[in-house]
């Protein structure tokens, strides 16, 4: 079990209030539930239960369920960015194109490694009745990583063009599509389910790279 982090902002060196920062406890309870029991078990009351508070305690830290889930999803985006960085480091990317491959592979590795959180992250009706700034920021960070890598490829001449947006759209789409089909278990219902997933990843990543390299 993860122990509570050191006390938050206002006072140092002692648990701030009643519970001792419930907000963080709720978010990690949410992460734990979604990770172990999946999205459908992720109810406001279940989160409160796991944090050992009453079912309406969360309302003093989040406006509603969506805002809590948005915080959980934002944590997911941070993990995603970390997974991408880890993949880049691990793969020892030497060229910008290799870095781009690592972004795609890291994205997919995160998706299959944490399918439930990944699904939550792309379920706006659960997290976004209103745009929650934490989520938007975390999301922008993740997409920025891709944009940046593509731009780097263009600067080194490994990819054509000057506008990183169109190639980024293609890369994101293909990787996100494969991830979705996988985590939603659609692949298993088709002939593609017979192919080892690693092989699909390779095929898809190399295909999109070939595509963005070929386009004028």
């Amino acid at each position: 079990m993860t122990k509570p982090k050191p006390p938050p902002q206002s006072r140092s060196s002692k648990p701030p209030y009643h519970h001792g920062d419930l907000r963080r406890a709720l978010v990690s309870a949410g992460l734990a539930i979604v990770g172990s029991e999946g999205i459908e078990a992720l109810s406001l009351r279940a989160v409160a239960r796991r944090a050992e508070v009453s079912h309406s305690a969360p309302y003093h830290h989040f406006q509603d369920k969506a805002e809590l889930l948005a915080a959980v999803a934002a944590a997911g985006f941070e993990q995603l960015v970390a997974a991408i960085d880890a993949q880049a480091a691990e793969s020892q990317a030497r060229t910008a194109l290799d870095a781009l491959r690592a972004v795609g592979r890291g994205y997919l590795r995160f998706a299959v490694g944490h399918p439930a959180i990944f699904r939550l992250m792309f379920r706006p009706e659960l997290t976004r009745p209103a745009e929650h700034p934490v989520l938007v920021a975390a999301e922008a960070l993740a997409f920025g990583k891709l944009l940046q890598t593509v731009a780097m490829c263009q600067q080194t001449g490994e990819l054509p063009g000057h506008d990183p947006l169109p190639p980024s759209a293609a890369c994101w789409s293909i990787v996100h599509g494969l991830a979705m089909l996988k985590v939603e278990q659609v692949l298993g219902e088709t002939p593609l389910g017979g192919i080892p997933f690693e092989q699909l990843v390779a095929a898809v990543v190399e295909t999109v790279i070939a595509g963005v390299r070929a386009r004028p």
Copy 2:
């Protein structure tokens, strides 16, 4: 166990039972609700209400909510196949590659034209606690369309290779990914939201075609 319920007397001579085939009425009520009010309004009771029956009448035609939604989703897959065919006809595809482009464009057109049904179709937790044969069949039909078109491209030499699966995976992934990012309104939160969607469609479709053509 399985009730032998072939819809036998679909002749107009006699209304079958009490209500006069509720099953179909429920499915189209579901389609209507999801189309007009979205996925979150799609409750068992709401469907029953719109069909003007009691809240538990559906249980005589479907084992549970998931089975009803599976039937609605299956209807969605049929519409998707129709949309793809319509796009192929409309685009006057003359080469196999053009037909492949039409599949992608039809898929995307359906997704943006019927976002709510599209989302339902790819939400297994709503439709698939158990695999419902109607859904699996409808889905296989849709994927078969893609496989078939890719195979045709390979036969005419417009695409390399003999196994249609890998290129199909790439095509489906990229188109599905863009569709998902669009209907889940993720695109709008990124710089890609500033680009006209038609332009993204063109970029993505042409990129994947360039990719599958280039790969050995």
